[in-house]
């Protein structure tokens, strides 16, 4: 039989299911994005920042905290989205058979996966927003450009959610997630211009880092927070958007291959 791909707005139903579950424990979910920046800012601002002093980033002189705080938001977006569609979606798919139950209703597999990705993105937008409030209170986000941050979080969340879902569609068991985390997520966390500017790296490493989606997300978030939007950021936008579209298609294909027998 020919494969009919049908996607309707019904994916919202899957999103709503996850929101419902999230709301049961929202108080716990709210804590990390509120507390994490405080811990990091204390450790890096007071401890490390005084060691580093001001340095040049782009064409301006900047202290360590305003440089690092936006990166923390970008990292939060990545982790929230990636972990939701990797571990959490895997548990729903594999152990809880939630997808099987959904597929006995008029929902299609595509709608289920899109709902999951959209939910993971939502979760990371919520976390990024909470974190933004905290670092804004610390005076580390400049406005009005800072108002664009949630929109950037949506794009970043979608991208990393799709990446997580690609791995979910191929890992044989839940332990295997250690592999992409060790080989992909952790290097990104460290080498995406998050903790130090990319220009400190050798040129080949800078080029490599430009392949990381987190590099581009960090650039965008930082530009919003520092009120330094520039036309060249279009390329980061385009890169993330392309990455999102490509990985979401891969995720849909992979999931179809995995589940429809």
């Amino acid at each position: 039989m020919k494969r009919v791909v049908t996607i309707s707005r019904r994916w919202v139903r899957v999103w709503q299911r996850n929101l419902k579950v999230y709301r049961q424990t929202w108080k716990i979910s709210f804590l990390p994005p509120l507390l994490e920046p405080i811990f990091y800012l204390a450790a890096f601002g007071i401890g490390l920042g005084s060691l580093v002093g001001d340095f040049t980033y782009g064409s301006r002189s900047i202290a360590y905290l305003p440089f690092f705080a936006p990166a923390l938001v970008a990292i939060t977006i990545m982790y929230n989205a990636f972990f939701e569609t990797s571990y959490a979606s895997f548990v729903r798919m594999y152990y809880q058979k939630t997808f099987d139950a959904m597929l006995a209703t008029p929902l299609t597999l595509e709608e289920v996966i899109i709902g999951e990705i959209a939910w993971a993105a939502t979760k990371s937008v919520i976390a990024a927003f909470l974190m933004q409030i905290v670092i804004s209170l610390a005076g580390l986000v400049q406005y009005p450009a800072g108002l664009l941050l949630p929109a950037v979080a949506v794009l970043g969340g979608l991208t990393f959610a799709s990446i997580g879902m690609v791995f979910t569609s191929i890992v044989p068991n839940i332990e295997t997630f250690n592999l992409p985390i060790f080989l992909f997520v952790t290097p990104m966390f460290l080498f995406s211009g998050t903790f130090f500017p990319l220009q400190n790296l050798p040129i080949w490493a800078q080029r490599l880092a430009c392949l990381f989606p987190l590099t581009h997300l960090t650039l965008l978030v930082r530009a919003c927070a520092l009120n330094s939007l520039a036309p060249s950021l279009i390329w980061s936008l385009v890169y993330l958007l392309t990455f999102f579209l490509a990985t979401s298609l891969l995720a849909l294909r992979g999931m179809h291959k995995r589940l429809i027998k």
């Binding site: 039989m1 020919k2 494969r3 009919v4 049908t6 019904r10 139903r13 899957v14 709503q16 299911r17 419902k20 579950v21 049961q24 809880q96 058979k97 939630t98 099987d100 139950a101 959904m102 597929l103 006995a104 209703t105 008029p106 929902l107 429809i260 027998k261």
Partner: protein, 304 residues
């Protein structure tokens, strides 16, 4: 509207080299309770998965509500309630939220969803556990909730894949009573089960399948009459003289190792004769059941 809710012709399902469903044909009429029986691995679940569009058909034709499934599948699916073989209630949600959330997957309006939820909670005696987490439910309550969930969209066709497996007799009887009520209300039901008593009690018609093929089709009572007769005599332990005797008299029997089951069609005095001639063995006379038919047709070997 066509009277046939399901009609299947030469339906096939292959997995790589394995043929799970090998060209089966059957139909289910509106208001009927239809049984799909067979040993483990016979292809029952594979058939059901094709019916509701979960797995692609490898060959043959499939019509639901008189329509090809490839067209209008979303509309067809919104008219079906499915109770899958594995337990897949949502463990992150309470009993009530399981029903409400499932109703949303069907796009039911909120008011309708709430009404159906409360009605089904009462119908399956779950109203006092509405706020309980799924993990705290007993097996029987879980199964009842799965059934309730399958009915949330007020379906025209209910598909049940082993709805009572693992339940104690009380829960099973309770489920049967609910299913009988639904059938009386005119609901069309497709049922798989390993309990022959259940099939005999609930099903108007059934098929017995094995290795992807349908062996027989008919009403339970007709099948019993046709393949076994009215009564059987169980004798244990069996031995050569007894078997010789049965063979010289041309009586059909099944040898289960520790026990012989003699099919008795004609001879009203057979039980007395056997009990007299073979005193010292345990002879039991009982009515023939669907289980005798099942074992007769599908053999005694373990599957898989």
């Amino acid at each position: 509207m066509t009277p046939e809710v399901i009609s299947v012709a030469r339906l096939k399902k292959t997995f790589a080299t394995l043929t799970a469903v090998d060209g089966i044909s059957f139909f289910v009429k509106r208001g009927e309770c239809f049984g799909l029986l067979g040993p483990n691995g016979a292809g029952k679940t594979s058939t059901i998965r094709m019916l509701y569009g979960y797995s692609p058909v490898s060959g043959g034709e499939l019509r639901l509500f008189g329509q090809r499934m490839s067209k209008n599948w979303r509309c067809a699916k919104s008219r079906i309630g499915i109770c899958q073989q594995e337990d897949n209630l949502d463990p992150d949600l309470s009993v009530r939220d399981n029903l409400l959330t499932y109703a949303r997957y069907f796009d039911l309006p909120t008011g309708t969803a709430q009404q159906s939820t409360e009605h089904l909670l009462r119908f399956f005696s779950l109203e006092h556990r509405a706020e309980t987490n799924i993990r705290e439910l007993s097996g029987g309550m879980k199964r009842r909730l799965v059934l309730a969930r399958a009915l949330i969209n007020n379906p025209d066709l209910l598909i049940l894949d082993e709805p009572t497996t693992g339940l104690d007799p009380q829960s099973r009887h309770q489920v049967w009573e609910r299913l009988e009520e639904l059938r009386t209300g005119g609901l069309t039901i497709l049922l798989t089960t390993h309990y022959m008593e259940e099939a005999a009690r609930l099903c108007d018609r059934l098929v017995i399948m094995d290795q992807g093929r349908i062996l027989v089709e008919g009403r339970p009572q007709e099948l019993i009459e046709k393949y076994v007769g009215r009564e059987v005599i169980e004798i244990s332990p069996p031995d050569a003289t007894l078997q010789d005797y049965l063979e010289t008299r041309g009586l059909y029997y099944e040898n289960f190792g520790q026990r012989l089951v003699v099919h008795n069609r004609a001879d009203a005095a057979l039980f007395a004769t056997l009990a007299d001639n073979f005193a010292g063995r345990r002879c039991t006379l009982r009515p023939a059941t669907l289980e005798d038919v099942f074992l007769h047709l599908t053999g005694k070997e373990l599957r898989e």
